[in-house]
């Protein structure tokens, strides 16, 4: 943008080949041993290396929660903001700095409960960014409460000892209804496939939503069974929203792969000045 604090000129070319490990920062993750999020971190660094996205050329934005700690674990610019508000921070960043690759990460509580409204509107807005939600169907950081994606009968939380009794939030179906142009589901226990999905998502022009099943070993040990339950999506990915809706509605929630992708107009301010403040001030004369 003109007349503003702009990044210094002469951006260095990235080193010839960045490897996945080059993207890892020195900060040690706070995650529990066996946490699914390690697999997402690994897949994301592999995807960045595959795409050779310079460390300074992207930014990773997050809210609050276990998975939202991820930006600090990658050696790039990041913003660890408020619970539920990662998408607005990312939206403002992308609007102001279209040159950056913007990645947003977080969990199911952050994205679908406290941040649910932003999720709807980020899908609608279709700005060019990738939103990775690590879904473990539980609030881990606050010690094991039910999230919007938790089964209504799950009664292991002191907060809802009889279960929530509330139907589960359907991330992929809601993203589709809200207008997302790219919807995929991955599994953190299969980082190679997840890497491929993330490469596709980052390359997709527009808002790309990647729903990642990422087990919580501490509060949801039964999710160890996910390894056996996930299965590749049976059908070819579609660009037809009605077809995708049927596919997603019939799905058991464990189908992984690209579910829907369509080229829709990408929302991006144009950032080309054609006037000066002096001209605007001249218009104030009666």
């Amino acid at each position: 943008m003109a007349d503003t604090a702009t990044p210094p000129a002469g951006r260095a070319e990235p080193p010839p080949t960045l490897k996945a490990k080059d993207y890892k920062s020195k900060v040690k993750p706070i995650w529990c041993p066996g946490c699914g999020h390690f697999g997402v971190l690994s897949a994301l660094t592999k995807a960045l290396a595959y795409l050779q996205i310079g460390k300074e050329a992207h930014a990773i934005i997050s809210g609050i929660g276990c998975s939202s700690r991820l930006p600090a674990y990658i050696d790039s610019f990041g913003f660890h903001g408020l619970h539920g508000r990662a998408l607005p921070v990312a939206t403002g960043l992308k609007a102001a700095r279209p040159d950056l690759t913007v990645l947003v990460v977080g969990g199911d509580g952050d994205g679908f409960s406290i941040g649910g409204n932003h999720f709807l509107h980020a899908c609608r807005r279709n700005m060019d960014m990738t939103y990775i939600v690590m879904d473990n169907e539980v609030y881990g950081m606050t010690k094991g409460q039910a999230s919007p994606t938790t089964q209504p009968t799950w009664s292991h939380s002191k907060l809802t000892p009889h279960g929530t009794g509330v139907r589960r939030f359907q991330p992929a179906a809601i993203a589709l209804a809200a207008g997302a142009s790219f919807i995929a589901r991955g599994f953190s226990g299969d980082p190679n496939r997840l890497t491929q999905l993330l490469v596709q998502a980052i390359g997709h022009p527009g808002f790309a939503f990647v729903h990642v099943l990422s087990p919580c070993q501490t509060f949801r040990p039964e999710q160890k069974a996910w390894k056996q339950q996930v299965h590749p999506c049976q059908l070819e990915p579609t660009t037809d929203a009605a077809h995708a809706a049927a596919l997603i509605q019939r799905d058991d929630g464990m189908a992984t792969g690209l579910l829907y992708a369509e080229r829709l107009p990408v929302n991006q301010p144009r950032n080309e000045p054609d006037t000066t403040i002096a001209e605007i001030e001249a218009e104030l004369l009666p």
């Binding site: 007349d3 600090a72 913003f79 660890h80 607005p88 403002g92 509107h121 144009r270 000045p273 009666p286």
Partner: protein, 583 residues
């Protein structure tokens, strides 16, 4: 009889009517005509919450000197009709020397108006307008009011031509014909009251704040509509686009504040504007900007509160929210625009302060400033060396939150090759790594406090006008008074001070532009030995409380505080000051 006023005295004219009667259009045209005739001016709007229908009034005051407030009484009321006039009774104070123009077709003038002892003159607005194809009676009212106030016919006609140009030639001709008819009601037209100005600006406080934002360097704005701040955002939207910036409409205020944190993190000076309820929603984000040291500016165009309150009317009651609304120890900037013209400087300065100090700035405006229009001298060019400090070099040892002598840590932004960081709202160490260690918390809290406390804010912290102890003139009698105010109260307080000086009192006015961090020592020096009286438009004396808490006032200081929505009037301030001081 024309309005009898000395040439140097301002004239106050009100138009009132049912919704759709065109009172506000009439006021706008009269204001623009006054500007063309060389006057300064001010127009406040009064409206109910209805989108269509309801009632509306335009309150105009103009004269040869800058107009800071709407005054005590109206010299002329043009009653286009009397439907719902009762709702305006308090907002259009009249006196025995007020003149009322009333259309017999609209029925009798309401008894409370008659009871003021006013002079009533019958003008058949409806019949006169009916004699012109597509004529409207509000334009007859403009012509009549202009004639009685001594405004030249050509200025009125030209102002209507410009204001209505977008509605087509037929509408303009009809309006101008009606103005001519109205203007003829005064046979012995008084000598035209012509001021001496030219090249003045005609703008609202919301527009002025928008201009200040642009001058300060803002190129990204996130916006969620709210009365009475929306016009600032609407004014900015096309102009930001033309300047290569952008405005995004957010899904809510939580999104707005976080969007500007994101864009500012990207290196682009960023702002949002809202009103009380919106600011309440944004406060968590303001805290994030403070903790992560991301510059942002939030303009709060205050309205009556609490809760949804009185959205279309003014009050200065969000100071406590702006000062204390964050959880934790969260030092930040709170500024107040001292009038419509001052919105330009205050907002521009707030942007630069926030950028340089890497913190959140809350700028308090209010409905009486934001939605009023004024004829003002163009704001002098804004010059400030303050900028965000962005390092250029590779800096292998870079730490985002490094402890420095000034407390300001150079801020790398995405796209800079070399070391990166993850900005954090969690407490962190100098390298931005989350930390709950006591030492890190203490160091970072102190850093965020000290960078604001140690900064030299220069002379902009307040507007101080004359007549105080030491420079009061030897003929001043009685104790010296220091009237302390903020925001839109400044206009009425300034006029009250003049009247008190006319009574022989030594009176100084200190209008605070920078409320936090409070420049306590400078304020105490400005007060000197005078008796401080803190004047503001809220029920609880919020500025008074803050100044007390900060140790800026001694025990004899007095609070003059009353809630909105009626504007503070110079006459009541004079009376309150005299009563409080028993002078």
């Amino acid at each position: 009889m024309p309005i009898s006023k000395a040439p140097h005295e301002p004239i106050a004219i009100a138009f009132s009517g049912s919704g759709g009667s065109g009172a506000v259009t009439a006021g706008s045209i009269l204001l623009a005509a006054a500007a063309r005739a060389g006057h300064y001016g001010l127009m406040m709007r009064s409206a109910g919450p209805q989108i269509r229908g309801g009632e509306s009034a335009a309150l105009v005051r103009f004269g040869p000197r800058p107009i800071g407030c709407i005054g005590d009484r109206f010299d002329l009321l043009v009653g286009l009709d009397w439907g719902n006039h009762g709702r305006f009774r308090d907002e259009i104070p009249l006196g025995a020397d007020s003149l009322i123009l009333a259309d017999p077709a609209a029925g009798p003038v309401p008894e409370p108006i008659v009871a003021e002892g006013v002079e009533i003159r019958q003008v058949p607005f409806l019949d006169l307008a009916g004699s012109v194809a597509d004529g409207h009676m509000n334009m007859v009212g403009v012509g009549a009011a202009g004639a009685l106030a001594g405004l030249p016919l050509d200025a009125l006609v030209a102002a209507a031509g410009t204001a209505l140009a977008g509605k087509g030639e037929a509408v303009v001709s009809a309006a101008q014909a009606c103005i001519r008819l109205g203007h003829q009601i005064q046979d012995d037209a008084p000598p035209s009251r012509v001021g001496h100005g030219c090249g003045r600006w005609d703008l609202s406080g919301n527009e002025a704040a928008g201009l200040g934002a642009l001058r300060g360097g803002v190129r990204f704005v996130a916006a969620y509509p709210i009365t009475p701040a929306s016009e600032m955002l609407e004014w900015l939207a096309p102009r930001l686009e033309r300047l290569g910036g952008a405005l995004l409409q957010a899904e809510d205020e939580l999104a707005s504040i976080n969007m500007i944190i994101g864009s500012s993190f990207g290196g682009v000076p960023s702002l949002t504007a809202t009103s009380g309820p919106g600011l309440s929603l944004m406060m968590e984000g303001v805290g994030l900007a403070i903790a992560s040291e991301t510059p942002v500016v939030v303009v709060n165009v205050q309205r009556g509160g609490p809760s949804t309150g009185i959205p279309t009317k003014s009050e200065q009651a969000d100071l406590d929210l702006a000062l204390y609304g964050c959880h934790g120890d969260a030092p930040h900037l709170v500024l107040a625009a001292l009038g419509i013209a001052d919105c330009v400087l205050t907002t521009a300065w707030a942007v630069r302060l926030a950028e340089h100090l890497q913190t959140a700035a809350i700028v308090l405006s209010d409905q009486a400033i934001g939605q009023s229009r004024a004829i003002i001298d163009p704001s002098p060019p804004f010059e400030s060396p303050l900028r965000r400090i962005i390092p250029n070099g590779p800096e292998p040892d870079y730490q985002r939150y490094a402890l420095t002598a000034s407390g300001i840590s150079p801020m790398r932004i995405p796209g800079c090759p070399g070391p990166s960081y993850t900005a954090d709202g969690l407490e962190h160490d100098a390298a931005a790594t989350p930390s709950s260690l006591a030492a890190d918390h203490h160091c970072q809290l102190a850093k965020r406090h000290d960078k604001l406390a140690r900064f030299d804010y220069g002379a902009h912290w307040a507007e101080i006008d004359g007549g105080g102890p030491g420079d009061a003139g030897s003929d001043a009698v009685g104790p010296s008074l220091c009237l302390i105010c903020w925001g839109s109260a400044h206009g009425a307080v300034g006029e009250a001070a003049e009247r008190l000086r006319d009574r022989g009192l030594a009176v100084k006015v200190v209008a605070l532009r920078l409320i936090a961090p409070l420049q306590r020592d400078a304020l105490r020096a400005a007060i000197g030995a005078a008796l401080p009286l803190v004047i503001e438009q809220n029920a609880s004396g919020q500025l008074f409380g803050w100044l007390r808490a900060e140790g800026a006032l001694d025990g004899d200081a007095q609070s003059i505080a009353r809630p909105g929505p009626l504007p503070l009037r110079p006459g009541e301030i004079v009376a309150d000051v005299l009563a409080k001081t028993q002078l």
